[in-house]
Symmetry: C2
Subunit: 438 residues, 2 copies
């Protein structure tokens, strides 16, 4: 997957005898293996997709404002690309839940879930998550990434002769989980029900696992959940949905798009995250008691790793309870998203027309995308990280904008003006030009 | 890996049409796929290795005492199996570092490192870790598991034609990383330098990556680090060491066994954890700037996941700084370990004779190991989780005891008496019997 990017291969022999044998003043040894790594980095730089992380310091009382730490010192900026979609990571009650738990139970779990790390808050958190999704049980992982990776691979290994059918736009963590399983898998074209059906049909009487998402992170579109459930029923397939960009945000209690669409009970496995709309860290699966117990018992990425700290679990628990009753917060979120879209349309920016809170503004070139992002940050104090390959396909580089309920009208107006200036400065294509060209 | 445990296969067809179509009162659908999961669970139960997690609530001011939550309510117990080896997760300064950061910066990072999640504390933490290990750079992951899994697989993919040589006792996370890489790999017998050398020789002029540990978690023994570095020099191999059970505990500044042995500068990659002796959560790699930058740029398990929260990073940073100057704490730790070993020897218990803080007391049978653990907990208020397959090989089931600097003489004495009683009750073999039989 990565190896093909290495165009040139350094010549052997590999390691000159540079290691210092003096135990008193050991210098850092220049390893000849670094040639490989330098080579890999050069490839990225040549392709203008070497990533420079923006160092920021969030400030609870000012969110979505934050400090940008750069060479000349800290500078106030406005965050427009956070996945803390509701600002729950800055909610006073969520913070105090973490503080209280840390003071009471410490900063770590001290072990795997099996070996001394099964603390009371994480047990309570799992009960809350099961309840949120109307399932018998839930299981918490270190991250949503790990939940997908070890979850999908373990489920597939426990179902003899299973075939996985996986949406082409699935997140890397799902792709890795599918690959790790080692079972037969087929990719269906994104949201293409006909293609999915033909693959289901072709799998005959074998067990089948359909793996897909509700909200796709980078395009901001939504999967046809009900239709996929209908196909699953017809072809007796098991369903696994990733709702990480939807939990907290959609449905009457924030359980996700499946709740909003009234089909949550039809999904066998719901995967979610505590690290986005719930403002904390961690991922989870929810489903039947037997399924969850089997993953708990067999998944290496769950068994052999330290449990999340009690302080994280308590913060997440508090956040979920607030968000379950957060209809007004979700309404405000959608209102600010709508206002942002309207303002960007006024500026004639080439947005993807999404039904969600994710607003991709297309640039289509890695260099320009980075330059636009840099100008937004340095000139306008607006932070929107450029999204490039491998997160999105080459040629679809973009700015991905995520309004929160805490972005106010003045900030939306400032965003619109700044993007307009940047688009003019770089002479980037506008939406009407894009439409005219189609 | 898991599939072979499924002895019987449920019969098709798989999914009766049980899904409720009523959107008003959706019941939890009994999925026919549950047959597979139930089957997998039955296998575990038949083999007496179905795991029941012990629900505990740690109490900062009383550590190593904690509360055990069971059917009849909470009950005070003493923890004897925590990997919070130094009790740093309960250190007042570490807790206050988390509290201050949570109040200042919130409970989450809000994004991946690239997309708005690169907060100031995690940058500072990486600088501290690089300094701790005398390396140019370090990179923090969600967990030590993820560091190994995505770290090893990514490094191997970036070195064309590499051969991995992996110690037979390596942790599951390293095994998964080696497997995921997809490259040619050979397992050398545990700590067997001759075997390793023969494999190095056989690999000829190809690049080679030696993957091993310093302290092996379950047997408590130590790898021959210097000898492995010598072989690496001779055969021009790159070295990757897992020090998760050693960082904080060994070496003048707690950088691990490699520091203690004066060979830290000879290792190309040092992997460690923030979740054990440092008392928090997370894992890391330390090494050359180019190597770290390449992993940062290519590792999917790093790129596509939410960053650790600022509050975790600040707590870890505080803990590391304390532990770097913690010579007295480490001395006290070793003293309590020595006293515990002496007391268990008095009781003639069948301990593995380890050079580390890990004290495995052998039982050799899954049922009895669980029963012994249960009796320790319910009768004596002593919590030592039974360790069974797949964490250790079948027939080597054990109690794994980890004294901390906070276990006092009275608690050590109580442990000795309790184990003595349990060994008598179940008529378990003593050390002298074991030696006599050999």
């Amino acid at each position: 997957m990565i190896g093909h990017l290495l165009t040139a291969r350094p010549t052997a022999p590999l390691r000159p005898n540079l290691r210092d044998k003096n135990p008193i003043m050991p210098p850092i040894p220049p390893s000849s293996y670094d040639v490989y790594f330098q080579n890999a980095l050069d490839t990225l730089k040549q392709e203008a997709r070497y990533r420079v992380f923006t160092e920021i310091e969030r400030q609870t009382h000012l969110y979505p404002q934050a400090l940008w730490h750069h060479a000349d010192g800290p500078r106030p900026i406005t965050l427009w690309c956070s996945n803390d979609y509701l600002g729950q990571g800055h909610h006073a009650a969520v913070i105090e839940a973490m503080v209280t738990a840390a003071r009471k139970m410490g900063t770590g779990a001290g072990g795997t879930r099996n070996i001394s790390g099964n603390h009371q808050p994480i047990v309570a958190l799992e009960a809350e998550l099961a309840s949120l999704h109307g399932k018998e049980a839930a299981l918490v992982f270190t991250s949503g990434y790990v939940a997908n990776d070890t979850g999908i691979s373990t489920l597939a290994k426990l179902i003899p002769d299973v075939v996985i059918l996986s949406d082409a736009h699935n997140h890397n963590s799902m792709i890795e989980g599918v690959r790790r399983s080692g079972v037969e898998r087929h990719i269906f074209r994104h949201n293409d029900l006909d293609h999915l059906e033909s693959l289901l049909k072709a799998a005959g009487h074998r067990p089948k696992l359909i793996v897909f998402e509700s909200v796709y992170s980078m395009d901001g579109d939504i999967g046809p959940i009900k239709d996929i459930c209908d196909l699953a029923d017809r072809y007796q397939a098991m369903t696994y949905i990733d709702e990480v960009h939807a939990v907290g945000l959609y449905g009457e209690h924030g359980a996700g798009v499946a709740e909003q669409d009234g089909v949550m009970h039809r999904l066998d496995v719901i995967e979610g995250t505590l690290g986005k709309a719930f403002g904390c860290l961690g991922g989870y699966l929810a489903g039947s008691a037997a399924m969850i117990d089997a993953v708990r018992s067999y998944a290496p990425g769950f068994i052999f790793t330290t449990a999340l700290p009690p302080a994280i679990a308590e913060a997440a628990l508090c956040s979920i309870r607030l968000v379950r009753q957060g209809q007004a917060l979700r309404a405000r979120h959608q209102a600010q998203v709508a206002k942002t879209k309207t303002r960007l349309k006024q500026a004639d920016l080439p947005m993807l027309d999404t039904p969600t809170h994710i607003i991709p503004v297309m640039v289509g070139n890695a260099d320009t995308c980075k330059a636009a992002s840099d100008r937004l940050l340095t000139l306008h104090g607006i932070y929107i990280q450029p999204i490039n390959y491998p997160t999105v396909p080459r040629g679809t580089e973009r700015l991905r904008i995520t309004p929160s309920p805490l972005h106010d009208e003045a900030q939306i107006e400032a965003l619109g003006q700044a993007l307009d200036e940047v688009w003019t400065h770089f002479n980037l294509p506008r939406q009407h030009a894009k439409v005219a060209a189609e």
